[in-house]
């Protein structure tokens, strides 16, 4: 068993560079066991995949996330394979699901094979060459431009990107300035000789948390400022008690 886990971690390190995704991983698991895709035991494969998923979830949750869709699907398939056949309307049977999975794996193997064949071909500029010094016939048009569709859409992309980054609008904020708070406190204590709770200065019609926090912070800072000036007294009887203000 420990050997098994070791092997999984090996695959994990592979998945960090060459690997692209779940079907690839399934293929690699299948190849590791030198299994012919047509004789593949989907159940075994599903079990291994899920075990592998268990391992990486512990190691790296980000990578695991990419493998989860296939994992969930395989878990579902596994449960179907283990449970007695029950006919459900409109849903795939476990055989159909296994078949689809096998098809997807074979299709990817096919594409990987031909992509190698393609790049093994004789290539222009490496094995054969075009006219090195072309002459251009100017019959109808005087100007010959070599603009490509890529130039066109890349340029458009850049315009759009540029325009988006150009139009930054900073939303009006409903934050309270310390200056405003100072004025509120000063005008209040001009007429009042009572102790007053700091929280009472926070307008109670504020809609969101941020505004409330900002109001509290600026009034607190303003009260400290006034204490420093010598026009206000602050009192807090114990930690977590309300802060009370009194004019001096």
């Amino acid at each position: 068993m420990s050997e098994f886990i070791y092997k999984k971690i090996d695959i994990l390190s592979l998945s960090l560079d060459g690997f692209q995704g779940p079907i690839d991983l399934l293929l690699s698991l299948a190849r590791d066991h030198k299994i012919d895709l047509t004789k593949l035991s989907i159940l075994k494969l599903a079990e291994q995949y899920l075990e592998f998923l268990d391992q990486i979830i512990k190691k790296d949750i980000d990578i695991a996330a990419e493998y989860l869709v296939m994992g969930a699907w395989l878990a579902f398939l596994k449960s179907k394979l283990l449970l007695p056949v029950e006919k459900e309307e409109g849903s795939m049977t476990s055989e159909e699901m296994s078949e689809l999975l096998e098809f997807q794996m074979k299709r990817l193997v096919g594409i990987q094979k031909v992509s190698k064949l393609l790049f093994k071909r004789h290539k222009l500029g490496t094995h054969f060459f075009k006219r090195g010094n072309p002459e251009i016939f100017g019959i109808n048009q005087k100007n010959q431009y070599n603009s490509t569709l890529y130039d066109l859409i890349k340029t458009y992309g850049e315009i759009i990107t540029f325009n988006n980054s150009k139009s930054i609008t900073i939303a009006n904020t409903q934050l309270f300035s310390v200056e405003d708070a100072l004025n509120t406190l000063k005008s209040f204590f001009k007429h009042s000789k009572d102790w007053k709770d700091l929280l009472d200065f926070i307008p109670n019609n504020l809609r969101n948390k941020l505004e409330r926090k900002s109001a509290l912070a600026s009034h607190f800072v303003a009260s400290l400022e006034l204490v420093k000036e010598g026009s206000l007294k602050l009192r807090q009887d114990s930690f977590n008690d309300n802060i009370l203000l009194h004019s001096k």
Binding site: Q20, Q104, R107, L118, F119, L124, F129, K130, I136
Partner: protein, 196 residues
């Protein structure tokens, strides 16, 4: 006498036309579409005869006539490729994602982005199509008439030219893939894997 002269004229005309076609294709570095040639020659039969002659004339030369998707180009012969160690353009190797994506587009075209993702089982990372587009190996095809009208992608003639292919049917292994039913892009298990 007049008849003979006319006949001579016809022949002279044909020879001149052949020279024109030869010069047109030879002087260009990119493949010239058949229709472009037809604009100068007008008569399809004559043009076909000329192209056949040229193909034959150059078949044992150091330069051959290549047909790429109904476009014509002269390219150096493969017989001499090993002796031409001139400045070769060493292509920057493509990423595995890009080569697989190119193969999927080539063999399954026209194909949408999400269909490509389904086949590979992973979402296309940004920059993959970009690289292929910059190489001018792929281009947008028509939009699919399914919900959302997704854009499809297909390969270009430059792609065929680069890989020495006459047309899409000439792709290596395409018959095998087709015969084993592996070119079906609609068979999918998980539909919406891509996280955006």
């Amino acid at each position: 006498m007049k008849k003979l002269k006319e006949k001579n004229n016809d022949n002279y005309d044909f020879v001149l036309k052949q020279k024109v076609v030869e010069a047109l294709i030879f002087s260009s570095s990119e493949p010239i579409p058949y229709d472009e040639l037809l604009k100068r020659i007008i008569d399809k039969n004559i043009l076909n005869q000329i192209l056949e002659n040229l193909e034959k004339k150059y078949s044992s030369s150091g330069v051959n006539l290549y047909v790429i998707n109904n476009s014509y180009a002269f390219r150096t012969s493969l017989d001499v490729s090993e002796f031409l160690n001139i400045e070769k353009i060493v292509p920057k190797p493509l990423s595995r994602a890009a080569t697989e994506t190119l193969a999927i587009i080539a063999y399954h075209q026209p194909i949408t982005r999400s269909e490509i993702e389904n086949i590979r089982g992973v979402s296309l990372s940004r920059g993959t199509l970009d690289v292929l587009l910059e190489l001018q190996w792929i281009q947008p095809g028509h939009r699919k008439s399914t919900p959302g009208n997704p854009l499809t992608w297909k390969t270009t003639n430059l792609f065929l030219d680069y890989f020495n292919l006459k047309n899409i049917k000439d792709l290596p292994g395409i018959e095998d893939l087709k015969n084993s039913g592996l070119l079906d892009k609609n068979k999918v298990i998980f539909n919406d894997q891509s996280v955006d």
